[in-house]
């Protein structure tokens, strides 16, 4: 334990009180470690606002969520009506509900931009692997949270969206059908499913999310934030031991973040007040029809934030499985010819590839669709070990690396667009190409990320005082 501190006799009452607390709980220490004396590079640009915004949206979702549970009924017979009751009869209920529904989409916008910032500046590189992994786990938990929350209004899209996603688990060989029944608690999506999704949505996943956010921040504040130049500010310290290019987060970044929050809330409020459905993207029109287990709406699509992954699921048919098998065969042949490893390794590679190809042809394309969709999220976790570029930041990587990242983002957006559209033959071919580009970006990264002419990285961060 630290030594017992004593405030000067003439100190103000507030300081005496703080000293009293600090002797019993490390309040000042926590504040200084996590924010007040947390040194971040002074060269952050606006891409660095999305972490704070994600925190803001999390708090907003929890607050509005608590108030919604006071009126919502997790019962298949009354759920839909209780949401309409909140919208029409509960004073200001419409505002709380629209804040919550818009907040869900805002959360994903902010998180996607936050992740793109990481991709651009190499924020996941050593020693920040765990920051990235905690972040990916948050993304995964957030997807579960959003999916389960979407069932609660018990509209047509809620019902059929849940039906499709739960049936994804039924595609798992051998245990699938029983697993799907265990998730639903019934043979079809029903009251039991709604009730348990409510429990997961309002307590189980939020608790996990809060724990993960704490882990993400503790890990970040341990290793320190990176910066747009991708260099370690801790390598250049001043006489006081603090990084020369760093600045305490408070008050400098407190003020920055408040400015960012003001801009964010302006856009957010505009959507909440003037376009809460945002043309059917934030709240789908079919979800204003109560759930009908006998009739699937003519056009069903998940909410926009899931559509890139949903496109990949749809793209995986028998043709796609054959293409994947061919790609694996090609990769194996080139590995056997050019690989710099011994006979045992080559034998293992050959046998492994053969087993995978046999499995690909054994199980249904449906199961592989699920694997592709899940793999698209899981592959993010491995990013710190896929990137072999000698510099972290895109700024100092060869120009065509920016092009590769651009193509990746463009295809991700195209996949997102196609996932919201009705299925079509041409769209399916484009989705298949998009899926290959998505996985190619990651799986070929160990090779492409080290190719090309890298620019010299500066000693100190690029910063112009303003």
């Amino acid at each position: 334990m630290a030594e017992f501190k004593q405030a000067p006799a003439d100190a103000p009452a507030a300081q005496k009180f703080l000293t009293w607390i600090d002797n019993r709980f490390p309040l000042t220490k926590l504040w200084n470690d996590q924010w007040g004396q947390y040194y971040a590079a002074k060269s952050f640009n606006w891409w660095y606002i999305f972490g704070s915004l994600a925190m803001l949206v999390l708090v907003m979702q929890i607050t509005t969520g608590i108030f919604l549970t006071m009126h919502y009924k997790p019962d298949a017979a009354t759920a839909f009506a209780s949401v309409e009751y909140i919208m029409r009869d509960v004073p200001w209920g419409w505002l709380i509900r629209y804040m919550h529904s818009t907040g869900a989409s805002a959360f994903f916008i902010v998180v996607y931009l936050h992740m793109f910032r990481g991709l651009m500046y190499g924020s996941y590189r050593k020693p920040r692997e765990l920051v990235w992994i905690f972040g990916c786990t948050i993304f995964l938990a957030l997807m579960g949270e959003a999916f389960m929350g979407y069932l609660l209004p018990w509209g047509q899209m809620s019902y059929w969206g849940a039906q499709v996603i739960v049936n994804l688990f039924a595609a798992v060989p051998f245990i699938g059908p029983d697993l799907a029944i265990l998730i639903r608690g019934d043979y079809v999506v029903g009251d039991a499913t709604l009730n348990r999704f409510f429990a997961f949505h309002v307590i189980a996943i939020p608790l996990v999310l809060l724990g993960l956010v704490a882990a993400h921040l503790i890990a970040l504040h341990e290793v320190g934030s990176l910066n747009p130049d991708g260099i370690e500010i801790k390598d250049k310290r001043g006489p006081d031991g603090h990084p020369l290019d760093g600045i305490p987060s408070h008050p400098y970044y407190s003020v920055h973040d408040i400015f960012g929050v003001a801009i964010f809330l302006t856009i957010f409020s505009t959507i909440v007040f003037f376009a809460p459905e945002l043309g059917g993207y934030f709240l789908e029109y079919n979800n204003f029809i109560p759930a009908d287990p006998l009739k699937t709406p003519l056009h069903i699509a998940p909410v926009w934030y899931f559509t890139p992954f949903y496109s990949m699921l749809r793209a995986t048919n028998d043709l796609m499985v054959n293409v994947i098998a061919a790609v694996i065969a090609l990769a194996t042949v080139s590995g056997l010819l050019k690989g710099r490893f011994g006979g045992v390794g080559k034998l293992a590679l050959g046998v492994g590839a053969l087993v995978v190809i046999v499995l690909l042809k054994t199980f249904d394309a449906k199961f592989w669709g699920v694997v592709v969709m899940g793999g698209a999220v899981i592959i993010l976790f491995t990013l710190p070990w896929l990137d072999h570029s000698p510099v972290k930041s895109m700024r100092y990587r060869p120009g065509w690396h920016k092009g590769v990242l651009g193509v990746f983002v463009a295809f991700f957006l195209v996949l997102g667009y196609l996932g919201a559209q009705p299925p079509s033959e041409a769209g399916n071919y484009v989705s298949q190409i998009g899926t290959l580009v998505y996985f190619g970006f990651f799986l070929l990264m160990p090779w492409w990320s080290r190719l090309g002419e890298f620019k010299p990285v500066p000693e100190r961060v690029t910063f112009v005082a303003h």
Binding site: V164, G185, L298, T316, K366, P423, S424
Partner: protein, 198 residues
């Protein structure tokens, strides 16, 4: 720290940890078990009787059985005549895949039903459980091939089925639509969920 390890104590610590882990896993069993369908949900699976007299040729009637839509379609002679021609385009024209789950013995034929005129299938896509939409009109239309002969289109992932609920090749759905156990109690009365009483 001393170099000496008390092996006896270490063994007991290991045994205690092992026993604790077994206890923890055992305690999880009742919690996971609550996820199973309740007794009430299990009981709600009775057979359904349907009067099919009012269905006109080319029409479909939907009834609910175990929470799922079951379609009863009265096919026209033209629709029945199209069925054998489609065989090369179908993934499983003879209903050979998972026959015990999907196609009862009396429906393992070219039209997948007891009586050629009436098709009885569960209206749930074998891909991910959406209910396909009726596309009985032949000819080119959105999301369908130009030589479409009439059938069903799943709005979720674009799987297509013919007028016998058989899935077309190279679609996300792996299997034909399920034919539920059913039997005719009389010419106009059908029971869904049982096939022994016939």
């Amino acid at each position: 720290m001393s170099e000496q390890v008390d092996q006896g104590r270490r063994t007991w610590v290991a045994i205690a940890c092992g026993a604790g882990a077994v206890g923890g896993v055992a305690a999880a069993v009742p919690f996971v078990s609550t996820f199973q369908p309740s007794e009430r949900a299990r009981a709600a699976g009775a057979a359904v009787e349907v009067d099919i007299a009012a269905i006109k040729p080319g029409e479909k009637l939907t009834v609910e059985w175990r929470g799922k839509p079951v379609w009863i379609i009265r096919r026209t002679p033209e629709q029945l005549a199209e069925l054998p021609k489609l065989d090369p385009e179908l993934a499983d024209p003879k209903s050979l895949r998972k026959p015990d789950e999907l196609t009862p013995e009396y429906a393992r034929n070219g039209w997948r039903s007891r009586k050629p005129e009436f098709l009885v299938v569960v209206g749930i896509c074998t891909h991910l459980g959406c209910s396909p939409s009726d596309k009985f009109t032949a000819g080119p239309q959105a999301s369908l091939p130009n030589d479409w002969a009439g059938g069903f289109l799943c709005p979720c992932h674009g799987s297509t089925f013919d007028m016998a609920g058989r899935v077309f090749k190279n679609k996300p759905a792996p299997d034909n639509l399920e034919v539920p156990p059913h039997a005719y109690l009389s010419d106009t009365r059908l029971i869904i969920g049982e096939d022994k009483k016939a």
